[in-house]
């Protein structure tokens, strides 16, 4: 017990000095558990994130947009895999992590439980959803756990492409016909608030925040990051003439930040509890994809075994 306390004290000293924790280093069990929870949720979000956009690949309005969307969805798969492999360094198997996802035990970001109804939603996801993700992930790139931080550095580089292509889609629509402008505006009306929810509950209502901040897994609070996202997004909206659907959104000269309206937390909690517009559909599609891929996994394994026999025989 005292040993444990001593180790924990040394661990905290390392964190306070800004040292990076690596997989084989001693760490408190709660640090390991919280990271496994956070990183696997993050990885699942990347994987589920492929679904709302995958939905539009066959209907992209041009070959250019189609190639871009394909590349972006492939990136999301890659991001999921970077983070899964980072999570495994904490001593949990891929099987276990994915298993918890497929049985519905593990959570993923609630944003992906909203439907993508029009092409403009590809713009909104890139600009707002990936824009919010960049703010989150840029902070995580400096977190105390080495494998997570390194995965974030890689991901942030790729998210910039996602962010810009989304903005370009909307900028293009906003120069189009009245119908196209309306489509873009409608998409932002639907995605603005859910994007703000991506940063999680208010600091006071965030159950794990205090521990995570003490361990420098989180370097900024949910509310700080949300504010940062809003502050940088408003002028981008003005630039293409799109309106952010919040009548209370207003520059506060004294605070040097934008004031904004209250988030509908009832909706947030409802979606987290599984009652969002697409929760059931997303899980069903994900499980189906896993089952439909079974024969590929079987074939790859059979082939590997055959090659191994051959090489032993030779």
């Amino acid at each position: 017990m005292t040993d444990e306390k001593e180790l924990e004290k040394k661990f905290q000293e390392r964190i306070d000095k800004g040292e990076v924790i690596e997989p084989k280093d001693w760490m408190p069990e709660r640090y390991r558990k919280q990271l496994i929870r956070m990183m696997s949720q993050h990885a699942h979000s990347e994987i589920v994130g492929m679904l709302p956009e995958g939905n539009w690949i066959t209907r992209a309005p041009s070959l250019r947009r189609k190639a871009i969307l394909l590349a972006k969805v492939q990136d999301e798969a890659g991001h999921g895999l970077y983070i899964y492999s980072g999570t495994e360094t904490l001593g949990v198997s891929r099987e276990e992590i994915v298993g918890e996802f497929l049985t519905g035990k593990a959570k993923y970001s609630s944003i992906f439980n909203y439907p993508t109804l029009t092409w403009a939603d590809m713009g909104a996801i890139g600009w707002l959803v990936d824009g919010a993700a960049i703010v989150n992930q840029t902070a995580l790139a400096k977190c105390s756990y080495g494998p997570y931080a390194r995965a974030m550095v890689r991901i942030c580089k790729e998210e910039n492409f996602h962010h810009k292509q989304g903005y370009e889609i909307l900028a293009h629509l906003m120069k189009g016909t009245p119908e196209q402008k309306q489509m873009a505006q409608d998409s932002i009306n639907r995605f603005w608030w859910p994007s703000l929810m991506m940063f999680g509950p208010h600091d006071a209502d965030s159950p794990h925040s205090a521990d995570l901040m003490r361990w420098k897994v989180k370097l900024h609070s949910n509310d700080t990051l949300r504010q940062r996202f809003i502050d940088r997004t408003v002028s981008q909206a003005e630039n293409i003439g799109i309106k952010l659907p919040d009548p209370e959104l207003k520059w506060n000269e004294a605070k040097q930040h934008y004031d904004f309206g209250e988030i509908n937390w009832e909706e947030f909690n409802n979606v987290i509890r599984g009652n969002g517009p697409c929760n059931k559909d997303r899980m069903k599609t994900r499980r189906q994809a896993h089952e439909n891929g079974a024969w590929v996994r079987d074939a790859a394994e059979a082939y590997a075994r055959k090659q191994e026999k051959k090489s032993i025989a030779a």
Binding site: Y82, G86, S93, R297
Partner: protein, 94 residues
Amino acid sequence: MSDTQWPLWEVFTQKRQGAPHEHAGSVHAPDKEMALQNARDVYSRRNEAISLWVVPSEAIVASTPEEVGSFFDPANDKAYRHPNFYKTPGVTLD
């Protein structure tokens, strides 16, 4: 349905000619050929690598953090292995 986990491979990428191979992350794959292909798709979608190594994770032997002190201390008291240990009166050799 096969749901067992494939072996883990560590991925090393060389960014440009003359640069060393550096650890990039890991992938699961049933054999070395697929490990290499998966590594390419996961860690070099934008020409981040001009060369890739994949190594079975279980083949890697690593020093342990607990032993770091005693393991590396043979190097601690040998300042004479560094050029700045030496005095060269009147001239700078480097």
